[in-house]
Symmetry: C2
Subunit: 111 residues, 2 copies
C-alpha cells in the first residue's frame, strides 16, 4: 500500500506551473498543482470530466464559468464537466492545490 | 460557484461514523468521513470504483487488501477497485478524512 506524504511531493519551477501526479487509475487522476506567484493554468474545459480543486497552501484565484473567487487553504471548488475553468496564483507565496479529475482524460478504458 | 470551507463541514456523532457529502457528480463523490475514537468503517470492496483517503486530522488505521497502515494528517492512500478496504480511528482524538470515489457508485449514468 503506497502511503503518500502529500505535501512532501510538491515541486515548484520558475519556468511553469508544475503538476505532480499522486495517484492515477482508469477512473481518475489526483495531482498536485504547484504555482509560484504569478503562474497560472489558462482557462479550459473538459466535455466529460469533472474537476475538484482543494487548496493546500497559498491564495488561488479560481475561475469556473464566468465567475472568479479567491480561495485559500482548506477551501474546495468544483469545476463541472463542460464549464470553463482555470486557476492562478494571486498571492505572494507559493500555491499548492490538490486536483482530482474524473474520469481520467489521459486513459482510454479498455472495458 | 460553491466554495466550501472543508473543515467547517465536519460532523461527529457518538452513534456512528458520519459521512458528509461535499460534492457529487455522475463521475465521483467527495465526502468527509468523521470518526470519533474507536469508530470504523468495516472493510468492504467496490468492483468498479477506486477510492482515495486523505487524512485531514487525527490518526487513521487504513486497511487496503491484507495490509494495514497508520496514517496521519497529510497522508494519502489509494484503495483500488476490487481491493478490500476499511478505516478506523486508532487515535485519541477525532479523525477526519477526505474521501473521493470514482466512478460514483450512487449514480447510474444515463448516457
Amino acid at each position: 500500500m503506497l502511503n503518500l506524504e502529500v505535501f512532501k511531493q510538491r515541486i515548484f519551477s520558475k519556468e511553469k506551473m508544475r503538476k505532480v501526479n499522486l495517484f492515477e487509475t482508469s477512473n481518475f487522476f489526483c495531482d498536485l498543482y504547484c504555482l509560484v506567484p504569478g503562474q497560472s493554468q489558462k482557462p479550459h474545459k473538459h466535455d466529460e470530466a469533472d474537476k475538484i480543486y482543494y487548496v493546500l497552501e497559498g491564495e488561488a484565484i479560481i475561475q469556473v464559468g464566468k465567475e472568479e473567487q479567491v480561495c485559500s487553504a482548506g477551501q474546495m471548488v468544483l469545476a463541472p464537466a463542460g464549464e470553463e475553468h482555470g486557476v492562478r496564483n494571486g498571492g505572494r507565496g507559493n500555491l499548492t492545490l490538490l486536483v482530482i479529475m474524473a474520469p481520467n482524460p489521459n486513459v482510454r478504458k479498455t472495458s
